[in-house]
């Protein structure tokens, strides 16, 4: 099974030609959440998108509050202007069986494969092959027409985390030693062509913290090294600084005026004890330290020379409303906006 590589505009800007959006990020940065938000954003204006998960953890179902997803595309949400978000949880066994069915028209042999645990076998002993079937399914979903004949306007993948995403996407390398010839080899090469073309873009979700930033820098180098197109850096959970620039300087030099704060508290009818003032000053200093740290992380991310989007911290956690809020923030910053 070979996949077509489409002609897309070569403008690297915000990847206007990309239809396949791969979302990765360090664990805990909110990669699944932002993949879902991107799928909603890209569906706005009456478009149709597919959100795919590949790690078998049913994170999408949890996020949208729907029953566990089967190995079939389901509509999970609607978007502004009549758009639709569909979702699919790709299971590797099903992907392999589907592949064999399509290519070889298996009859009873399919039963034998399942019965003997052959799939388990192949995928345990050769995880590289596993990834070929997962990425193959993604490419197939990208190109297969839907019942009404149209294809998805965009496919968003909640991909493995930064530590393993390059390996996951570099399927060609993975099967190089294992399947030297044959259909799987061809399939891997064809997948690589799609992934390296302008129709694919990899987004990296990060936080303004040290480890996620470091992993973002590392994975960008790694992805570029294997010729995969890196799209945007999505900075998640960004909090609007409450303190002003002048406050920050005072806080960092530990010179916040105690008397002024006590007077202010009195004016607001709040307790003015030394303990309360000290506690509030301590918290302000913490906040100022964090702002300084965030500025350093922002600078490190900026040095990558990639477009960055910032997504707000949602104090009450992520619910469906929160997802739409994040989707709107992505759209406002230009995700999926075609051309200048």
């Amino acid at each position: 099974m070979r996949f077509r590589v489409e002609d897309v505009p070569s403008d690297p800007g915000d990847c206007p030609g990309a239809r396949l959006h791969v979302v990765t990020g360090k664990g805990g940065t909110g990669k699944t959440t932002l993949a879902a938000a991107a799928a909603i954003a890209l569906a706005s204006g009456g478009r149709r998108t597919l959100l795919i998960e590949v790690e078998g953890r049913q994170g999408i179902a949890q996020l949208f509050g729907c029953p566990p997803l089967p190995y079939a595309e389901r509509r999970v949400a609607v978007a502004r202007g009549g758009g639709e978000v569909h979702a699919l949880a790709v299971d590797v066994e099903d992907a392999l069986l589907e592949y064999l069915q399509t290519v070889y028209h298996l009859g009873r042999a399919r039963w034998a494969l399942g019965k003997l645990g052959a799939l388990d076998f192949v995928t345990t002993i050769a995880p590289g092959l596993r990834d070929v079937f997962l990425t193959g399914k993604i490419c197939q979903a990208l190109q297969a027409p839907q019942p009404d004949g149209a294809r998805y306007d965009a496919v968003v993948v909640d991909a493995p985390p930064t530590g393993s995403v390059a390996r996951f996407l570099n399927v060609n390398e993975q099967v190089a030693g294992l399947a030297r010839v044959g259909p799987v080899r061809d399939q891997a090469e064809s997948i690589m062509e799609v992934l390296r073309s302008g129709q694919t873009t990899v987004h990296i979700v990060t936080l303004l913290e040290e480890m996620p930033t470091q992993e973002t820098v590392d994975v960008v180098t790694e992805l570029r090294g294997i010729g995969l197109p890196v799209g945007e850096v999505l900075i998640n959970m960004v909090r609007k600084p409450v303190l002003h620039a002048g406050d920050l300087i005072q806080a960092q030099s530990r010179q916040l005026p105690r008397a002024e704060i006590a007077t202010g508290l009195a004016a607001a009818g709040l307790p003015t004890s030394a303990a309360v003032v000290e506690a509030l000053i301590g918290e302000a200093v913490d906040a100022a330290d964090r702002v300084a740290l965030e500025a350093a992380e922002r600078a490190a991310l900026a040095s990558l020379g990639l477009p960055t989007y910032e997504l707000p911290w949602l104090a009450e956690g992520i619910d469906l409303g929160g997802l739409y809020e994040l989707a709107a923030a992505l759209t406002d910053q230009g995700l999926g906006v075609s051309g200048p």
Binding site: G28, L100, Y104, A109, G264, A267, A268, L280, E283
Partner: protein, 390 residues
Amino acid sequence: MTPTGIETPGTAAPRLDMDALLGDRGTRIIVCCGSGGVGKTTMSAALALRAAEQGRRVCVLTIDPARRLAQSMGLEHLDNVPRVVPDVDLTAGGLLEAMMLDMKRTFDETVETHASPEQARAIFANPFYQSMSSSFTGTQEYMAMEKLGQLRAQADVDGRWDLIIVDTPPSRSALDFLDAPQRLGSFLDGRTIKLFLAPARLGGRTYRTVFNAGVWAMSGIMNRVFGAQILTDIQSLIAALDTIFGGFRERAELTYAHLQAPGTRFLVVATPEPDALREAAYFTQRLEQDRMALAGLVLNRVHTTDAPNLTVERSLVGAQDLADLPEHGLTERILRVHAERMQRIRRETHLTQHFTAGFPQVPIARVAAQATDIHDLNGLRSLGTSLAAG
């Protein structure tokens, strides 16, 4: 600043006495578990340092430490054996050695230990061995267990360490550490493998049984899909591994049994976030089921305040009152900073209460959120102090 904790009614879980755990000579192994990104590695390192400075002879096995943390522990060289950590205070008679797991190398060494040089060469040359030994699905957990088994055996023989602290691989699910080795073990030792081996052992003779008909059908398909070489490669690898390991499953089960031994204690690490606490709950249930000793929950990156009576609402109303008074702008903003923190604390407390409601008997140690990451021994030392203060 290190804010002290606040007493919130309803979170009256027992406090985890970390120093008692570390000081108890009966504690031989501590396994730090938890979902990815909660700070397991740093926590393991901090516990190891504290135990060593209190006189334990400690070996800490880390899986994937951040670069600067690794450097601070003298771990920049990956040689897969424990090395003495410099600049540790050893006046109490302790020792601190640390190592970072090299998964592929541990696999290679296990093969080398049990195979003849010729067998080992054949195994290393097999493309499927290359794939399996460097994959991160299951192998990392298996090799972490394997390494733990080796360290424990060494400790039993020469008494070099009296406490081994293990960090677990950065999987999404904390349960993977317990399940993956057995899964891989029973799989490699199981029926499917035996069936795969059958054609190789029979030298091509055809047995007309139902099962073998199935195997042959499958072999045919696999040959077509993957190319003819693939089955031969797999069969020769499995045959070679089979002769040297004497049963993967047995080996995995033995290591698993060690986790149930009285000297092994588990610490579940979580942050006060829904996903991390859900994983912690699954893990706690599982340890109970399997009769493994849970020492407690380490709740990392907890937000605290020294002004608990100034609630979210009072702070916001106060800030509102000051909004039109420019001379009180600073106080207004500081109140908003506090309100944000109180909001966060409220959410974290709520999430923690859910866990405590399900597992009221599990002791908890809380560690306050730090503004910066830890990358030196002093940072680990102060983390150790707050772990002990609970």
